[in-house]
């Protein structure tokens, strides 16, 4: 009798969850919101929700419900949450992942169920080339891009040798491959560290022994914070110039590391001081709402929301027709904070990349100032392997 009662209760729970209105937009947002790299996911989420708020709680005219999940930097957890959002909550869009490895583990469930994933950050090379997928859209930049621009910058500056460090995962591989694609000098060493590693004493000892002309690191989030702190503590910053990709010294790193970053060069697709109306509006609104300056991640999160907004508007709210939504999204008719935005045929963006340097702005705050353009209208190196039109 007891079992029967429990069964009835359980089934009623389940059936009650079926209330599913088709005139509302459901978005599943899974990201890294805790741990040493939480600042990245938090920035994306905050900017994403800001964009929705600025649109009156709607995207493309439809009221939005955003389900937020924390993958805690664990791929299997990210996958579990993604599966739940796609299969149980039946979201219309999935988005949010910061790290490529977590994303790669989690998006297959979206693709299988014809749910569009819009990436606000991770954009690894396999999905740009041979594994390109019609349900995968990138609102940020191809994983290699910042690194290609950095390699070009190192070439431009004439550094004779470069020491490279990245974590041992897909994005790490992509990053150093990108750097080497445009760097014409000598590679002193190519070191892959463990993802999530926080103690770099061994690696720093090796750098010191190698005495390169420049050091290029790709260490997102907490990894970079710790590395740079230890780099400075070991006195190596006095000898070896450090180049990083744009997010390696953006606001989330500047906050904990501080003045030690002054003078570091980096490359990115966006900067705080980019001169277009969408950007000015975004930066002002973000600062007002959250009392801090947005990082490149926030800019990407904001653009993701805008992109979804443009797609939904393009199909006049009829999001059940996924093919139509795809077409509308591909058209990318929105005002990006980075300026012009268009998709390549593999649904990765074609855009400019700028050289930036860490300096103080008019109010004495540490920011990244854009000082030049490294690439104009660059796509990515993998599009030729993609079978999509």
């Amino acid at each position: 009798m007891k079992t029967l009662k429990t069964l009835l209760v359980a089934t009623s729970f389940v059936l009650a969850n079926q209330a599913h209105s088709a005139d509302k937009l459901k978005i599943g947002f899974v990201s890294t919101l805790s741990g040493p790299s939480a600042a990245l996911g938090v920035d994306i989420r905050d900017a994403f929700q800001l964009a929705i708020k600025m649109n009156g709680g709607r995207l493309g005219g439809l009221p939005v419900e955003v389900l937020v999940g924390d993958d805690q930097f664990k791929p299997e957890l990210g996958r579990q949450i993604a599966e739940k959002y796609v299969k149980l909550d039946k979201v219309n869009f999935l988005t949010g992942f910061v790290f490529s490895n977590i994303m790669l583990a989690s998006v297959p469930v979206a693709f299988e169920n014809k749910v569009i994933y819009v990436s606000p950050n991770a954009a690894p090379s396999p999905l740009a080339g041979k594994d390109c997928n019609p349900y995968f859209f990138v609102a940020s930049w191809p994983n290699d891009a910042y690194h290609e621009a950095a390699g070009q910058h190192a070439t431009n500056k004439g550094y004779k040798s470069a020491y490279l460090i990245a974590p041992n995962y897909q994005a790490g591989k992509d990053s150093l491959a990108g750097f080497k694609r445009f760097y014409k000098g000598q590679i002193a060493a190519e070191v892959y560290t463990q993802l999530g590693q926080l103690d770099y004493s061994a690696e720093l000892a090796q750098v010191r022994a190698a005495k390169p002309a420049a050091l290029y690191i790709f260490l997102p989030g907490g990894m970079g914070i710790n590395f740079i702190k230890q780099f400075v503590a070991a006195g190596l910053s006095q000898d070896i110039p450090l180049i990083v990709p744009g997010f390696g010294d953006d606001q989330d790193i500047i906050r904990p590391v501080g003045e030690a970053l002054l003078g570091t060069f980096d490359t990115a697709h966006w900067a705080l001081d980019l001169d277009n109306p969408a950007n000015k509006k975004f930066v002002a609104a973000f600062e007002k709402e959250y009392k801090r300056l947005p990082s490149v991640f926030a800019a990407q999160g904001y653009d993701t929301a805008q992109l979804i907004d443009s797609a939904v508007r393009g199909v006049k709210g009829k999001v059940e027709d996924v093919e139509a939504v795809r077409k509308a999204m591909k058209a990318a008719k929105f005002d990006s904070v980075r300026g012009a935005f268009k998709f390549n045929r593999n649904q990765y963006p074609i855009q400019n990349y700028y050289l930036r340097v860490v300096a103080k702005d008019a109010q004495g705050r540490l920011v990244n100032k854009s000082i030049g353009t490294v690439f104009k209208d660059r796509g990515d190196a993998y599009v030729q392997d993609c079978a999509m039109k």
């Binding site: 741990g35 926080l198 230890q230 503590a233």
Partner: protein, 287 residues
């Protein structure tokens, strides 16, 4: 620093015959408390000292309330109960502080120190080595030269006998646990600026601490010291040189992956090897 954790752990295990998985959580608490106190007082030293004291007190409270009932139970119950404590403490910390609480390095110590011309070493790490050394001496003095130390040693080698001789076991246990907690806190607070202060930081170092005390012999502080040094050396050498050695034979990606992996495994191989030949560790305290 590993020695500090291992010393506390080995004492608790040796004297109270209790496996305390939550030892790592005390380390975590020490780090978080240090972060708060340093921010409150503005002074690194004061903050650390306060954190150590607070953790010791918290440890003793934990001991008198929950852990005391576990002494008589079997190891499985202790393992499970202290594992439950890890979960609880992790979440409590997350509730109070959020997932992490960065602790910046004290300004004076964040630069390098010129040990020899051209050989620069981070000043902060010198401090850690110094403190570790000092604590080792202090512990040695306490355990080998004082009356309390004698009681501790007696309890470690033969608890029933010590009880029979009229030692106030309850008080001794509480104090030992408090001391263990304090050691954890010192390690946690000092390591905080170097590593990330985050929820779950205790688990990683806990395993290493257990490996150390198993290698060194349960109940022996000397064993903890030797074990910690052994483990530390093997780990660092492994991580620094194995990838280089592998790099001679394999491509960078493989070498970079295999190197640290094999290095991590070396520690466990070391432990397995030692246990095979000396099943009670290098310096067992028990007769």
């Amino acid at each position: 620093m590993l020695f500090l954790l291992a010393a506390g752990l080995t004492l608790v295990f040796g004297i109270m015959d209790m496996i305390n998985l939550a030892h790592g959580s005390l380390y975590m608490l020490g780090a978080f408390l240090a972060s708060t106190f340093v921010a409150l007082t503005g002074s690194f030293t004061a903050g650390v000292l306060l954190a150590v004291a607070a953790t010791a007190v918290l440890g003793m409270i934990l001991e008198t309330t929950i852990l005391r009932s576990l002494y008589a139970r079997d190891h499985l119950s202790q393992v499970l109960a202290t594992f439950a404590l890890i979960l609880i403490l992790n979440e409590v910390v997350r509730l109070v502080w959020g997932s992490d609480a960065p602790l910046p390095m004290p300004g004076a110590l964040s630069g390098p120190v010129e040990l020899l011309p051209g050989l620069r070493y981070p000043a902060y790490r010198l401090l850690i080595i110094g403190v570790g050394f000092f604590m080792a001496l202090l512990l040695y003095f306490l355990v080998a030269r004082t009356r309390i130390g004698m009681l501790v040693r007696a309890g470690a080698s033969n608890r029933e006998m010590a009880l029979a001789m009229g030692v106030n076991i309850r008080l001794l246990f509480t104090l030992v646990f408090g001391a263990g907690a304090a050691l954890c806190a010192v390690a946690g607070a000092l390591l905080a600026p170097l590593l990330a202060v985050q929820v779950g930081m205790g688990e990683n170092i806990l395993i290493l601490a257990f490996v150390v005390i198993v290698i060194g012999g349960i109940g022996s502080i000397r064993g903890a010291l030797v074990g910690a040094i052994l483990v530390g050396v093997v780990d660092t050498i492994g991580r620094a040189f194995l990838p280089l050695a592998f790099g001679l034979f394999f491509q960078p990606r493989v070498a970079s992956a295999a190197g640290p992996a094999i290095a991590s495994v070396t520690i466990y191989l070391l432990m397995a090897g030692i246990l095979y030949f000396r099943p009670k560790g290098l310096f067992p305290a028990r007769g």
